[in-house]
Structure formats: structure tokens, C-alpha cells
């Protein structure tokens, strides 16, 4: 891995570009402590501690990047989305529901390997049959009714799951496609979970 917590060049750019955080001193100390006090375990290697560019911007701006920076970086994230070659964005909602239930993957106690769970119910309400759902993200129940009429909704949902940061740079939601956690099939199945009229999410 690149041992430095943040690539030096980028750090410099950020220093110039963004107003220095008021407590930047403690942030620097925190990064030094993090660097010193973590050890690899299972698949969770030390390089995970390094901020990528997006994380660095969100971390330095309290998740509120200046408008221009945010928009530009969002556009870049959107440009990174790879859509299926066959042009079909909807898969099997049943497979999607199963995937949505699973929160497994990427922790030091998980077996390495892809794809991982969709983690959806950890944060979202989807099917009314699943009463154990989180509220970190918005409810997605009745998604088709509430959102289905928007143009290019399939493309929106596909890209949002692929890279949520394309729409909100410092969103809490992981970039499932971008980091390779979910593949094309899995994302299609999740799109179907939200947009298939037969999906329990729309019942």
C-alpha cells in the first residue's frame, strides 16, 4: 500500500483549495494516531485507513464540500459508473430481496470474496414484510409509486447503487459498484427490487 495517509500532492492541493479546518491540528494528530494504532486483521488490511480523494474532501469539510467542488466531484463519480453492456438495468427482484437482507462482507470477520451483501435493510425500509429495517437512509417502500414516473429512473437507481456519491458527494451510502462490492447482476437485481411492480417493495 501507499503508506502515507493521503497522497502528498493531493494534500497540498487540498490545503490550498479548501479553507483549513479550524481544528486541523487535532485532525493531523488523529491521523497520526490512527496510522500508529491499527493493525491488519483478516481481510481488513492497513491500506483501508488511507483516505481516497473523495473521503479526504468529505473529511476535511465536515461532509459539506463547497458547492463547486461537490458538484464537480459528483459529476466525476457519475462518469465512473459502468452500465451493463446489454442495456438491461432490471434483474430479478427475488434475488435482490435476498441480497438486500445480507449485511455481510468486508469486515475482518467476514470471509473474503465477492459479491458481498447489499446491506440495504441495515439503513432502509423496503419490503413491508421485513419489519427489522434501519432508518439511516430514507424509506424505499412504494418506490415505484413515488419515484417511478421520473425519466430515466432505472438509470438513476442503477447509478445510485453503483455510486451513491454521484448524487451526493458525502452521502453515508457506500459506492457499491465503484468499489467492486456488487457486480452488474447484483445491482440489476436490486434495481428490480425497487422498480419491479411485482416486488414487495411496491405492494
Amino acid at each position: 500500500m501507499k503508506n502515507n495517509i493521503m497522497p502528498a500532492a493531493m494534500a497540498t492541493l487540498l490545503m490550498i483549495a479548501l479553507p483549513a479546518a479550524a481544528e486541523g491540528d487535532y485532525r493531523a494528530k488523529a491521523i497520526a494516531v490512527i496510522k500508529k494504532d491499527f493493525q491488519p486483521r483478516g481481510q481488513a488490511s492497513i491500506d483501508r485507513l488511507a483516505e481516497d480523494g473523495l473521503q479526504a474532501v468529505c473529511n476535511r469539510t465536515g461532509n459539506k464540500p463547497p458547492e463547486g467542488v461537490g458538484r464537480a466531484m459528483e459529476a466525476d463519480q457519475l462518469a465512473d459508473v459502468k452500465y451493463p453492456a446489454d442495456g438491461k438495468l432490471m434483474g430479478d427482484w427475488k434475488a435482490g430481496e435476498k441480497l438486500a437482507q445480507s449485511g455481510r462482507g468486508f469486515t475482518w470477520s467476514d470471509k473474503p470474496g465477492l459479491p458481498v451483501g447489499g446491506n440495504c435493510y441495515n439503513c432502509h425500509q423496503i419490503s413491508p414484510k421485513e419489519t427489522s429495517f434501519g432508518t439511516i437512509g430514507p424509506s424505499l417502500y412504494q418506490f415505484l409509486k413515488l419515484r417511478g414516473t421520473q425519466p430515466d429512473i432505472q438509470k438513476y437507481v442503477y447509478s445510485k447503487i453503483y455510486n451513491a456519491k454521484a448524487y451526493n458527494l458525502c452521502s453515508d451510502m457506500p459506492r457499491f459498484g465503484h468499489i467492486g462490492a456488487l457486480g452488474e447482476k447484483q445491482i440489476k437485481d436490486l434495481v428490480a427490487l425497487l422498480l419491479d411492480p411485482e416486488s414487495p417493495a411496491n405492494k
Binding site: 483549495a17 494528530k29 488523529a30 494504532d37 483501508r48 481516497d52 473521503q55 466525476d76
Partner: protein, 287 residues
């Protein structure tokens, strides 16, 4: 790692793009979701709370307290010394009443800010002659094993029952630990871009059925402090606050924080410090 490469490249490109040129046209954002968010305190939570008092009243944690008391008072280790006659938790050698709620604090003899568990480990190493690496090898309980340190922490915590949290945040070293801890809590990294605050930085959120305390508020921080060390019903094991910090990082998809390290002590300083003034009920029972 793919993520780091793309991220770093894209950030550099963007910095150029964002400041050398006019920002690109913003992407249209679809309207915000309108479906109602279910209230944090649902029927299930209320149902759990009905049995809470009874569960806390007869808590298997007491079994570990008993064991910890015996271990605290017994001469042990290569130096054959009892912690009761050698270990200063900040209230004087061997004094444990109220010690737990006044940590983390700065200990000049160790020149470090230490939470209760870190301090007891320090005593076991410095006073009793145990090897740190041996303790750190298996620091937390599993189905077949409970480390001595867990019993000891539980015993010490039991002697702060119904006392107010009083982390000495006015001490400059403790204050600095709090500030660094705050930054650690906000630090996003890893494959999922999570920080502690992703789950624990906002009021009224849940993961699945579980309420997520906002650790930046006094009430939320207290929820994160209350009940630790705790008897975990899942697996029936006694686990400490240090363990809980590590498990958060696990779920954050981070690597593991080193046992009894600055990182954990500072994070605990932030969290417990935010809970100052509130009443600690002693070792608890957890889901």
C-alpha cells in the same frame, strides 16, 4: 486497492478541474424521498424496555464481578503482587470506589491518557509483571474463555454504580485526547467510506432494529457508555468498552485498533467525556 487508486486520481483531477475552470454543470438531483420515516422508539423497543429492569436486576455480569474481585485481591503474576496493594486507578493505590467513572484520565507515571481497561492492563504489566503481549493476544472474551482483565474491569466498574461520569476534561492532556478522539470519530475511510459518525453522529437513527445513539450529544454519549462492560446475551459473554470500540471499527470495515492503544483511549475520552455529569449504572446487559 482499486478504490484508493481511483479515488486519489480522481481527487487530483477534480482539484484541477474545480479550481482552474468553471465548475461543471451540476447533476440534477431527483426529489427527496417522501415516505415517512418510522419513529425511533417503535413497539419493539417499548416491549424490550418492559423487561429491561428485570434483566438488569439479575445480570450474569455479577458473576464476572465476583471473579474480578477475587483476582483484584489475590497476589498474582511474576511479581506476586495484588492489584489491591499496588494499582492506582487515579484515586490512590487500591482505591476503586468511583474510579471507573473518573476515567479516562491522565496518568503521569505512564505519561498517557488511559481508560479503565488500559490502566488496569498497565498495572498488571508494571506492578504484577505480566507481559503486555500475552494479555493483548486474547484480550476479549469468547464462548469458552473470559480473560482476567475482563473480570477485573467488570469488578472495578461495579464500584462506580450510581455515580456520575466525571472525565477530567479540564486537564490539558485529557482535553487534547478528547479533541483527537473527536477527529477519529469523524474520520471516513475504508471500502464503505464509513466513520464512527456515519452511524453515531445523528439523532434518532436505527440500524435494522437497533437504535443508534448520537455520540456527540450528552444523552447519546451516555447511551454509548451505559451498560459497558456488558454481559452480551448473544453468546453469553462478558465484554468491555474497549471491545465495543473494536467492534465498531470491525463494522466500519476498518482494520483492528490495537489493544489498549492511544486510539481507543482517545475515542473513549471523547465519548465518555461527552457523557460527563450523568449517572452510570454499573456493568450492564446487552443484546
Amino acid at each position: 486497492m482499486k478504490q484508493n487508486l481511483i479515488g486519489a486520481l480522481c481527487a487530483i483531477v477534480i482539484m484541477g478541474g474545480a479550481f482552474a475552470q468553471t465548475p461543471k454543470k451540476p447533476v440534477a438531483k431527483p426529489a427527496a424521498q417522501t415516505a415517512p420515516v418510522v419513529e425511533a422508539k417503535d413497539a419493539a423497543t417499548i416491549e424490550f424496555e418492559k423487561f429491561r429492569a428485570e434483566m438488569e436486576d439479575s445480570n450474569p455480569a455479577e458473576l464476572f464481578e465476583m471473579k474480578g474481585e477475587e483476582q483484584w485481591k489475590t497476589k498474582r503474576g511474576p511479581k506476586n503482587v495484588a492489584l489491591a496493594e499496588s494499582c492506582d486507578l487515579g484515586q490512590g493505590v487500591g482505591k476503586i470506589d468511583g474510579a471507573y467513572v473518573k476515567m479516562p484520565r491522565y496518568f503521569a507515571d505512564a505519561d498517557a491518557v488511559m481508560d479503565a481497561e488500559r490502566r488496569i492492563v498497565w498495572c498488571m504489566v508494571e506492578k504484577q509483571g505480566f507481559k503486555f503481549d500475552d494479555i493483548a493476544k486474547k484480550p476479549f472474551a469468547n464462548a469458552n474463555f473470559t480473560p482476567d482483565i475482563t473480570n477485573l474491569v467488570t469488578y472495578v466498574a461495579g464500584h462506580s454504580r450510581n455515580m456520575k461520569i466525571a472525565v477530567p476534561l479540564k486537564e490539558p492532556k485529557v482535553r487534547e485526547a478528547w479533541e483527537i478522539g473527536k477527529e477519529i470519530a469523524a474520520y471516513r475511510a475504508g471500502p464503505y467510506d464509513f466513520s464512527c459518525n456515519t452511524c453515531h453522529g445523528t439523532d434518532g437513527k436505527r440500524i435494522r432494529m437497533q437504535n443508534l445513539p448520537n455520540l456527540s450529544t450528552p444523552a447519546g454519549a451516555m447511551k454509548g457508555v451505559q451498560g459497558w462492560p456488558g454481559y452480551r446475551m448473544t453468546g453469553g459473554v462478558m465484554l468491555t468498552h474497549q471491545w465495543r470500540m473494536g467492534d465498531c471499527f470491525r463494522q466500519q470495515r476498518f482494520p483492528e485498533p490495537k489493544y489498549a492503544s492511544d486510539a481507543v483511549a482517545y475515542l473513549l475520552t471523547y465519548m465518555i467525556g461527552n457523557a460527563n455529569g450523568q449517572v452510570y449504572k454499573g456493568p450492564g446487559i446487552k443484546r
